[in-house]
Amino acid sequence: MSPITRRTLLKTLAGGGAATAVSGFPFVNRLALGQQAIKLGVVVPMTGPMALEAQEMLAATQIAVEDVNAAGGVMGRKVESVIRDSEFKPEVAKRKATELIEVEKAPFLVGAIVGFEGIAMAEVGCKNDVIVSFFGQNFLTVKGKMCKYQFGNNLTPYQTAAAAAHFVDAQKLGKKWHMLANNYSWPQMFERAYSLVAKQVGADWTGVTWAPLGTRDFLPFLPKVAAAKADVVFITTWAADQVACAKQVQEFGLAKQARVIHSITELTFAEAAGAGVYENFYSGMPWYWHLKDKYPAAKRYYDRHMALRKRAPSGYTASTYSTVRLLLETANEVKSLETDKVTRALEGRKFQHLKGPEQIRACDHVNMQEVFLCKGKPASAMKDAWDFFDIVQSVGGETTSESCEGEGFDPKKPLSQQI
């Protein structure tokens, strides 16, 4: 074999260069960009009162990203989560979201557990034409308060309330309804939904007993609830308020005179209250871990979450998983990271992840999905540390969602063509 001369080497390199130039840039691009991961911007309150919920949601995000990467990533590129702490402050959430877009060049933002974080992130995303998808309740479906790039697979307050109300109607639990709720904007949205559904199904809506956010002693409010002589009392409280309320409603014996339904609950609240406190209460959830026995995908998710966090996943973590996976899978399907393209593909998209079929309604970006109404078990019937409830019924689809006209949108047009 003749040795390679300097002239031969130069010829070979020149030929290779010419071939690359002729074949175009994709080869070069693949070399240069193919290994570069797509950054998924995540903003959650890793410090503050929601820190542990945030850790649960980060685990769900990690599982979803791993699933997408295992299936080939997005356009052949790996996805990498870039996580920022909102510190449970709207101004910090805004700053971190901006940083993820401007510095990290993240094409998508996900996160936010509570409303003020969601509003802050949405403002940044919409200003920069970046899709923002929420982990917490998707409550911004009111025209003028949202932009076309907002999504979220979790329930809306209307869906949550309507599901509980339709459940009551279907189970014939009673026609006289009342609500006990914390007095701030989120539960106030439930009041509207309950009163509307009451009208639809011919129930008597007796109004709301409002307790301040952070109420320690609910007892003074319970006589008013009892005086309403309702067949059904919906309770719309969250976190520590819900735990205190559940304990004191049980102490007061309200469940003996009315059906008590928590509009929505999380597994963590039942754990904090203790075994048996939710006994005989009904509670709405976007997902419950017993679904692992029905859907193999839910079983896989449950097993992986258990391995990561050593505890059963909650409804909100399942929504988080679904939110992340849907966004990335959609981008992969349309082979684009362009906001408008992915937005259009998400509108009307049907999918099935951890429960029955779901669909993002095009006209308002609300996820048409099942809501699970579960009944609290007595302590003696619990099979393990997380076995607080049994699913009684799933309520879902269009029946639980407000019409697009009702929200002020045109039902025939995708939201991206309306705003």
């Binding site: 409002w210 003074p220 008013k224 976190a239 308020d241 102490e251 963590t268 209250a273 505890r311």
Partner: protein
Amino acid sequence: MNGCILILVALGLSIVFGLMGIINFAHGIFYMLGAYAGWLTIQLTGSFWLALLTAPAAVGLVGALVERGVLKRIYGTKNASFAGVLVTYGLAIMIPDLVRMTFGRPGKPFAVPEALTGSLFRLGAIDVHAYRVFILVVTAVLMPLLWLLLNRTNLGLVIRAGTSDNLMVQLLGINVARTWTITYALGAALAAFAGVITAPLVAVAPEMGGLVLIECFIVTVVGGMGTFLGVVAGGLLIGETLALTGMLYDVLADVVIYLAMALVLLVRPRGLFGQEGMSEE
């Protein structure tokens, strides 16, 4: 129930302010730590009654360590009051996060002790439960005992004298530093006791001290900073106002205690039982 809890927590806050001149933002964490210490005791021994003793003792010790280890360093420094606010506020942020890291998940189940479950009698539309009567009785027993401690013992005499004129007490050769430590620990223990007795009715969570602190500040302002009687009156007034508003006109429950505070301050700026000159430096 609210009034009793507010009195117990606010009393420590008020005494610490009266004696040490510190607006103690860390006080709410002792209430929270009390609930956690109570939970831990029950996990280890199964006894709620033991928790009533161990939690205040343990948290009182934590209070003493905080006073000796942290607050002592700012006494006598320039802007000590302001530094006190900053330091205690920092502790109020840091310690709940430490609790989260130590105890993990939010919320710890804490049941009403078996002997105190169930209703005792009916009052109007409400079943009065044994546990709520227990809270009332315990507070009613503790208050005279604390009054005796503050008014009929040497320690109480020094605390009261220090509240009136701290410098003079020091000039008389009394070991004020020890009194401050004891007072701070006593305040922490009282808050912890309130934390244990509230725990069966609420969520035991790291953030539980934040809200109670705001209400206790209102109680001390309404009652008069640094006065025993003021705290008792303020606690009862604010607790009952909250309860009655909840019963009669719930939509006002959010703002009523602030309105009550504004009204009292307009009529009597030093609070119901406050002394002239207190906190006016």
